[in-house]
Symmetry: C2
């Protein structure tokens, strides 16, 4: 008898038919003799509708009240899923995040988990019940409901799996698992059977939409192996864990692509201590997430700064830099939209040379111009023109033999 934590996302519980299908799946695990804890998200679209209502009333709704509002999405799903299980004759009970003992700080809308006590979840499991827990939410020291931010339900599931010392944690979503590249771009992309946390983290932050990086970080920190799989079929998914058996053999695990980037070039700023820092401080104050950064020092102590930002932040970035330059009394800004960031990720590249060289020469052979490069121990990213992004993903996927 295993203790399994299953998490179902918004697409998987979108309507009553999907909730029935999820109940069937949970019932199968329960009947196989396992103890099952289920974490559910709000029904697809509900959270966005609630946010839109709040913003229609106030451009910047109070975070505490937003949490009171947003937490109802998951509360609806736990009740409906529990009722659907009862219809199948499966004993089940729902718990809010707070009732499942998920304690957080009081930073509403992006609370951090401080402790997981598990509430009476273990008792309910011992009594033979499936326990359906509201994801995305917790409770703070005042007893007020908090939410964990985007992707918070994945975090709830992994944190509960850690607290309950679950044997297995399954993240059910609308994709089959993690692929070597986006199958819509690369038709012969392959599902990756096993991947380590660090690679998953890089893929998550590089544009792969499977999971938010926060949940993966938590899994890494507390060493919670989990499986990403589809709630629409019974295919095995991708196991994410600390080590994989194929670790030594694989140079590159996958190719990721983020098509939502804008490049900003700040030219002719004085090459003096603190000038670049001032630019980035004003970007931080404007809450712009800066991604890749390159700094060149040109002739006569004049520097150029180049960086990418998410396309949504482009206007704010532009304004923030212009205000900063006005204070510095020097420099100019130019923006290039339609930029893509293409990355290769693999823990194997730590111990192999020639990976960067193969990446750059492959792109060059196909006439793809590299505008910026950034690297970490286990990934190399390049900024290129958006028009060439799909081509780049395909030729890199092929060059690193990911279809084999």
């Amino acid at each position: 008898m295993a203790l399994i934590v299953q998490k179902y996302g918004g697409t998987s519980v979108k309507d009553l038919d999907r909730i029935r299908a999820v109940a069937d799946r949970i019932a199968a695990s329960h009947r196989a003799g396992d103890q099952v804890v289920v974490v559910v998200s709000a029904r697809g679209g509900v959270t966005n509708r609630l946010i839109a209502d709040a913003k229609a009333l106030h451009p910047e709704p109070d975070d505490r009240e937003l949490d009171v509002l947003l937490s109802i999405g998951e509360q609806e799903t736990i009740a409906l899923a529990t009722i659907a299980l009862h219809a199948l004759g499966v004993p089940a009970v729902s718990r809010t995040g707070g009732q499942a003992g998920i304690f957080t700080d009081s930073v509403h809308t992006k609370a951090r988990i401080t402790e997981i006590r598990g509430g009476d979840v273990r008792e309910q499991l011992e009594a033979g019940k499936v326990v359906i827990v509201a994801g995305f939410q917790g409770v703070d020291g005042h007893g007020f409901t908090t939410t964990l931010g985007r992707g918070g339900s994945d975090l709830s599931a992994i944190a509960l799996a850690a607290a309950l010392k679950a044997d297995l944690c399954q993240i059910y979503t609308d994709v089959d698992g993690v692929y070597t590249a986006d199958p819509r771009i690369v038709p012969d992309a392959k599902k990756i059977p096993e991947i380590i946390y660090e690679e998953m983290l890089e893929l998550a932050s590089l544009g792969s939409k499977v999971m938010q990086s926060r949940a993966v970080e938590f899994a890494n920190k507390y060493n919670v192996p989990f499986e990403v799989r589809s709630s629409f079929n019974n295919n095995p998914g991708t196991i994410v864990k600390a080590e994989t058996s194929t670790l030594e053999d694989v140079l590159v695990r996958g190719v990721a692509c983020d098509k939502n980037q804008t490049k900003v070039v700040v030219s002719d700023i004085p090459d003096q201590p603190g000038a670049a820092a001032k630019v980035f401080r004003s970007l931080a104050e404007a809450k712009v997430n800066v991604d890749m950064i390159v700094q060149n020092v040109g002739r006569q102590g004049i520097a150029n700064l180049t960086f990418t930002v998410p396309a949504d932040d482009a206007y704010r970035a532009d304004r923030a830099v212009n205000e900063c330059l006005a204070k510095l009394g020097a420099g100019s800004v130019s923006r290039t939209d339609r930029i893509a960031k293409v990355s290769i990720v693999g823990v194997g590249m730590q111990s192999h040379s020639g990976v960067a060289s193969l990446m750059f020469s492959t792109l060059a052979e196909h006439g793809i111009n590299i505008q910026m490069i950034s690297t970490s121990e286990i990934k190399i990213s390049v900024a290129i023109s958006l028009d060439q992004a799909d081509d780049a993903v395909r030729v890199l996927h092929s060059a690193f033999e990911l279809n084999k």
Copy 2:
């Protein structure tokens, strides 16, 4: 500075525009210097949609899970109303029923209030904030959310007003107050400026849709005066309290009509101890609400029983009685649909004779046949044909000079 409890029903908070209008009204009270506690219902239609979803998954959804589900309706409204107040620059904070210290027993979907501690509502008021409380819900000894049944938000408001020793309790709804008769039937019906609890209770249980009787009972028990008024205009409403200044002058306060009745006649049952009891026990087991009852003993120890039930219960009543008669081995059942119950209500009739006589002669003069009669100290009800119901209301309204 007064402490006011205001309650807004589902129609009053149906959409974002209506929530904005309610916020304007609350803001006006706050700016006038009053301390304001607001109890809100779920947005109109939300509770029914949630119940329909639950029943689509299970014909008899678990009551505890139903409460988890239904309570989100009010939780949505408290957050949205609070955010709307912020947009007007009014400091405000939301509280769930449990957070406002509304404690109940654990009888889910029809919990009874056991204690109201008020949570930190007083502190928030002292800090200058409007407190928006979720109606219809409380929390039981396990910390689980309960709901109070239909009309529960009225009860929440009156109970909070009692616990906080409020100076005023205003029940905002979609009608201007309590009328001497339904203005759609009697165009010259008059709004009643003041009415006593007992009369309001009778009107509530006799088909007037303004308020559920439970909240009025609570107000009566704890002597909480309240005002029923419209959230769509600024007209004064109806004050409901223990005594009215006009008590001695008014014989009949109003005419009520319930058009949703079926008459059931059980003929030829043995007139022996327990036969009628058996009939009514089977009706109770079938959860049929029996209303007016008449029993005649005929010749040779054979009795007839006549009673009315809500039309929705007619089929179940018929089946229950038939099963019971099969066991008794005697009797037969016949049903008359399209029955109305028309009632006159007034505490003044306790001390005046001739009220019943005037009622019956008025109906007779207009050719309206009385099929059944039932009376209490402050009301007389008659069952008549549905076709004559509106006529009956009009001629009684006029005979008792309620338009004056």
